[in-house]
Each structure stands twice: as C-alpha cells, then as structure tokens.
Amino acid sequence: MNYQKFELKNGLQLYVHTDKTTEMAVLNVLYRVGSRNEIPGKTGLAHYFEHLMFGGSQHVPSFDTAVERVGGECNAFTNTDITNYYISLPAVNIETAYWLESDRMLSLNLQEKTIENQREVVIEEFKQRYLNQPYGDAMHHVRELAFEKHSYQWPTIGKELADIENFTEADVADFYQSHYVPNNAILVVAGNIEASEALTLAEKWFGDIPARKMSKDAPPTEPVQCKKKTRTVQSDVPTDALYKVYHIPGRLMPGYLEADLITDVLGFGRSSLLEKKLVSNTDVFASCRAYVLGSIDPNLLIISGKMEKGHNAEDAEILLDQVIEEFKQSTISPKVLQKVKNQADAMKTYESVHLLNRAMKLAYYAHLGSPELYEEEYERKLKIKGETIIQTARELMTDENSSVVYYKRKTEDLAHTA
C-alpha cells in the first residue's frame, strides 16, 4: 500500500494514502487510548468518551449534521488499546472533515446534557450487546478470571453498569485533557487526494492545536500465572459453553506471531483441527474456534465452543485437552503450513478492497510503530517453522497457564427458584 508520512510540530502524525480510482476520501483519526488506560471503578470510560466526541465542539453545534450536510458518513470504535474515528465523504469535501476533527480535538463541548444523555445511551448499549444476550457476558467472566492486575480484566464496554452510572463531569473532562492531544493521535487521509494537499490542510487545521505533556501511566503488569483457574457461571442459555484461555505475549513481543499461528492451525476455517476433531467427529461440540486477542500488552489465546444439548462443559474440556495434547506432540505438515501462508496472503488482498479498511489498517500499524510492520510481520510469519509453532504451544498451552469458564445452562431446579 502506498503512503507518505509527515509529522506536524505539535507531534501529530499524518499518513496519506492516495487512490485516484475512487471519488471518495476517508479521514481517520486514531487516539492511543482505550480501556487499557482505565482504572478499577472507572471502567468503560474510554468507550463512553467516544460517544461524547459526537456531542459537538466550540464551532460545530452538531457534528453528525455537519458531516451529513456535505454528503458524508462517520463512526468510531474503541477497543482495549485505541479509539478510532473516521469520516467517509466525497473527496471534494475532504476539508470539512479536517475542520470537524480538528475542532473536536481542540475544544470539545462537554455539556451536561450530552454527558447525561450519552450515559443513558451507553447503558442501553451495554444491555443490548452484553447483558440481554445469551452468552453475552462470557468475555466479562473470562477477562475477570484470567487477569488479576492488568486492565485487560474488563471489556471495553466496562466491568459493570455502575461504573457508567457513576462517571462525573470531572472524570470526563480529565480524560479529554489527558488523552485527546495531537501528540497522542495519528491522522490518516486516504482516497482521491494528493499528499501535498493533505499536508497543507493538516497544517492549516491541526497545526495550531497545542501539544500537551501526557502522563504515560502504564497499566499494572500482569503477574505470571502459576495455577489453573476456573469459574462456573449459571445462566438461562440453551446449552453449555466452554471458554479456555491461555496467557500469550503482547502484539509486538517475541512469541506473539507463533501464538497467532497456533490459532490459525487449531481454529481457523472448516479444515481446522478443532473443527474436524471436536465438531465434525464428536456429538459434544456444536461449534469450536480459537483466536488471539492481539492486544499491545500480554493478552490471551482463546478457545471457545458451544456444547450440543445434553453435554456439559466439563466433559467438553476433557475432549478439548486431548486434542491440545495431541497437537503438542504432533508435527505440522508442510501442507498445513502452506495453507496458513496462502490464507495470510489472500487476506492481504481481500482486506485491500475497501478504502476505509486501508485507511484503518494504515492507522493501526502506524500506532504499532510503522505501517511497514504490516509487510514485515507477514514476512516474519511466513518464515516461522512448524517445530517452532509446536514448541510455542508446549510452552503456552499448559494447565497452569490456563483459565477456564464453564458457562452452564441453568438446571430446571435453579430456574424455578430464580
């Protein structure tokens, strides 16, 4: 992917990706802040704050209307590590996106009305996506069990509703002051625009936003786990589900790509080991998959599955453990390795279809250190040998490094007394 890099005096990084085949453009701003930067009792703040960013700024009474009036659309997402905003619009109107994003970086309106209204909206989002869904809070349990110290112990939506209910205006203002500064942001402009024009506009709209010193409090380091941890949850769900997770290195640390490859072999696609051994060939698992969270700090390799009716999560774990043990004693055939490589290769092509995807990838890898990492990681991944993957599995996928949530269907008795 072609791109040019610039840095403004205030520390704002600018990446420009020119694509003349489209009449659209995307302006994407990534702030290096997520639920990773939160503390207990104030969880969910990064995501809640993302909502407040749409509440207007000093010169923009209504952010959304201003985007829509020039034929654009906008949205944002927050995860553990970043908060990412984008505006997609006809390229001829790109300057409006600069105006809007720079104004809310410089002087966001934090009116009480917006703060209170979005508190209600986020609480409904919390319910809709996590509490009012079968298995919806499973990751709440998984994170809380697996992490003792690190802020990855709660999901980005927040640990519980009470935290959202209790945020004060001061919490919100503080959060804005400490994280929403040009030296903590990456600006990506992509689409039908020349790099020189993108830079001129960046200087014009973002150039006079002052840099601020940032407190770089790192989250507490997660101690090494020495003993298997388990938790049983009872809930109104149709069947049991099993979540078994292992601590793995952070996104840029040695061993991460190997862990990622473990999940490619174990759990990606219909031809994966878990699918074949546990789903197709037992009547215990209705589904089973494996993936890594891939966050900046040490995170998790997750295996999750739903049981067929009448089978319990504890028995399912025994079968899963057998497959993992076999895997740790096996060799990975050249054909399987080639498959994983073909998939990595194809994914690069598929991901490049949409302009917005390209803009977000560029911002994400810039945040990791450099857009070059995208290609470098791919090259490194392709060079990793089968023995190394198995060796990593032996080191990481041990019982003492595991946490297990048995998410169980409430038995009839319990259901009646509830």
Partner: protein
C-alpha cells in the same frame, strides 16, 4: 490562525458514473455479467437462482436451507473433509446464498488460485452427495441456532414482525422450529437438489481475469443443466390484529418492531418513500435517532428500513429499548411520522437529507464489488439502471411537499403492525 467559525465550502457531486457490467450468454443460455477489477487480484463468482419452492409448507420450510448448507459436505469426488482442506488450502471462501428469494453459491478467491478452485466450485452444483453423518450434525447445529434465536429478544422480534406482515405460509414470514428440523431428510434434500436447485441461474463475475480465464468460466458452466422456474411468487397474508407481544419479565430491554407492507421499487412513489424513510429513521441524523436516542435516551439505536422482495417491498422500524419504555418509544415513532406528514421540512434539514443521500449514493458505487452489488440489487428485481438515474434525479430535486403526501398516503397509524418482545 485559521478561522474555525467559518465552515469550509463544499460541493455536491453532479454526476455519478453508473458503470454497468458487460453481459454475455453461455451456450446453455445462462447469462453472465462481468465487472473487471484491474487493480485487485481477486475473483468473485456468484451463481444465483430464484429460491424455487413450488410445494412450500412450513414442515418443508427448511429443505432449501439444508440443501444449500449440505453442498460443501461432500461430492462424488471429494469428501466433506477433503473439500474443506481444498478450499482452505487455496484460501478460498465458498459462501452459501440461502435467502428468502434467492439461492446459490458464491466463490471468493485470489487470481493466483482461481484456476485450481474453479472446477471444484463447479462440481458443487451437480455432484453433491448429502451424506447422513454430516446431515445429522447440521441438524443438531441448526436446532441450537433456533434455541439461541428464541432467547434473543431482537431475533425473536424480527421473526414476529415478518410473520405479522407476511404470515407463516410465506417463506419470509415463516419461523422454523425443531420439528421442522426433524422433518428434513436426505431424500427430500436430494429431491430438491435434483429439481428445484439449478433453476434459471445467472452468473455474476467480479475480478481481475483475462479472456482465457473467462473462457474457462464459460467452459465450466456451459454444461450446467438447469430447469425452468416453476414457482410463482407466494402470496402473503398479513396479521389481522394490531400487535403481537411476547412478554419476558426477566428481560432487561424490550425489542420493538413496527412495520407494514409497502409498494414495490417500480412504483412511482418509491423514491419519495425512500426519502421519507431516510428522514424518519434511515440515517444517523434522522428524526427517530434525534428524538428517541439523543433526546430521550431510550435506546442505543433505532432505525427505519425499506426491505425488498420481488413481489413487494416492506417498511420496518427496529429498536431495543429500555425496560418499561416500549409504549413510550412506539408513541414517539407515531408522533414523528405525524410530524413528517403534517409539517413541511425546513430548509436546513432538507439540505442535510438531500446531501447525505447523494453522498451515500456515491459511496455505494465506489468500488467494483459495490458496483456489482448495486447491479444485482436492481437486476434481480427486474429493473435497470434508469432506476438509479431516476432516483438520483429525484433526490436532487424533490419538492418537500412530496414528503407530506407520502406520510399521509402510506403511514396511517391503524395500518402499522407492532411487535414487543421483552419486558
């Protein structure tokens, strides 16, 4: 210092290039539509057929679903495992198209592997074997999906609004249950595959391919045997009452749905209806978002949509709202409909809706895969590009009094059905 109080100027695109696919016809009469993607080494082939179910009944309602979903479970040449290994090895995605009106398969692969995977993809249309063991697994997986959907207030509400609008005897109103899963067997699937699957197919190709590769697609699909479409559009029967409620006291929210059957895309009021729906609930700046989310905080999201079926289109409002506020939210929807039908749009809102819709229009034609998607959408409804040209012209120039007229003509409160699932 830049003066931030002055918004930058903007332009609204005058013209949008509606690039059309080229058409060719295979020897067997099957039409093939092609859009080239010279900058992307991807090939996508979609083979789409009408969902053809002449002897439709709820007990047989899942036969098309299982037929489609069993296609990858084995052919005369390759077992289920071998098929999975094959497509995954070449990083190729074969997707089942199992809709209410269309069925078929789509292939997404890279230019590099295209020639290897094409013949195997082709074999799925005539060589599937439907083994018993895999069918049993699929059936129990489907039962679990049904059980989970039953628990989800949103999924349940979607089922009920479709049932209210179309009735259980219509494929779109049909709600599957475990007994319907049990009723599926291998013979019924094989029968459907033999006579109702390869019917009146059309092929849509998007990708970076040479003439020679196009020739290979033609060679592969030239001999695809297929039948004439026999089923007519099924008739629907709308629920007599006003509201269906599924009370769940433990639930933290209520999923509400409002809806009614409306005019097809070919109707002269359709473009005006689209603007009406967008203004009411079709974008983030809509009346419903502003009122029910941003003013009252009843919900994370509320939206209005116009859905398409071949015979008719329908309109729906969807939201999951705070426990105890379902009635209040529904009242507000009617209030907003009434306002749109009685008070003419102010200049500023008119400009916002117009420009948003034009920009959104442009964004939907911005890459080759989108272009094919746009083409399929109208083509499968028997329309051509004048549909988009007229629509763009309408959005640019409509008179706001037209929106009042639509509100009065189509949105009588009595005619709208309501669903509440939850607390």
């Amino acid at each position: 210092m830049v003066n931030r109080s002055i918004a930058p100027g903007f332009k609204i695109p005058e013209q949008i290039a509606f690039t059309q696919p080229t058409k060719r016809t295979l020897k067997n009469g099957v039409p093939l539509y092609f859009i080239s993607t010279p900058h992307l080494d991807v090939v996508k082939i979609e083979v789409i057929m009408p969902n053809n179910h002449p002897d439709y009944s709820p007990m047989r309602g899942l036969i098309p679903f299982f037929t489609l979903n069993m296609l990858l479970e084995g052919t005369h040449e390759l077992t289920s495992d071998e098929l999975d290994d094959f497509f995954d090895y070449y990083a190729t995605e074969v997707e089942i198209v199992s809709g209410f009106e269309q069925q078929g398969l789509s292939l997404l692969t890279t230019k590099k592997h295209f020639r290897e995977v094409l013949p195997v993809f082709r074999s799925l249309f005539t060589e599937a074997t439907f083994p018993e063991k895999e069918l049993a697994k699929r059936k129990s997986q489907k039962k679990l999906t049904i059980a989970i959907q039953q628990e989800q207030t949103g999924a349940r509400a979607n089922q009920l609004i479709r049932k209210a609008l179309f009735g259980e005897m219509h494929p779109f109103g049909y709600i599957s249950d475990e007994a319907h899963v049990d009723a599926v067997n291998r013979d019924a699937i094989k029968g459907y595959y033999a006579t109702n699957f390869c019917v009146a197919p059309e092929i849509f190709v998007t990708g970076h391919i040479t003439d020679r590769e196009m020739q290979e697609i033609e060679n592969q699909f030239n001999d695809l045997p297929f039948g004439e479409e026999t089923s007519t559009s099924p008739s629907f029967e709308t629920f007599d009452g006003k509201r269906i409620t599924d009370l769940r006291p433990q639930s933290l929210q209520s999923s509400i749905r409002l809806g009614k059957i409306l005019i097809p895309k070919s109707h002269s009021d359709y473009n005006a209806l689209m603007v009406f729906n967008t203004t009411l609930g079709g974008y983030f700046g809509s009346r419903l978002i502003k009122n029910i989310r941003e003013e009252k905080g009843y919900t994370y999201g509320i939206s209005g949509l116009l859905g398409s079926l071949r015979s008719t289109d329908y309109w729906m409002i969807l939201a999951d709202v705070k426990k105890g506020f379902a009635e209040a939210a529904i009242d507000e929807v009617y209030k907003e409909i009434k306002l749109l039908a009685e008070v003419v749009l102010e200049k500023e809102e008119l400009e916002t809706v117009r420009n948003y819709m034009i920009g959104h229009f442009l964004s939907q034609f911005s890459n080759p895969f989108d272009l094919m998607g746009r083409f399929k959408k109208i083509h499968l409804q028997g329309l051509d590009y004048t549909y988009y040209e007229d629509q763009l012209r309408y959005i640019k120039s409509f008179d706001p009094s037209d929106i009042l007229r639509i509100g009065k003509k189509y949105f009588d409160e009595e005619s709208i059905k309501e669903i509440i699932v939850g607390a």
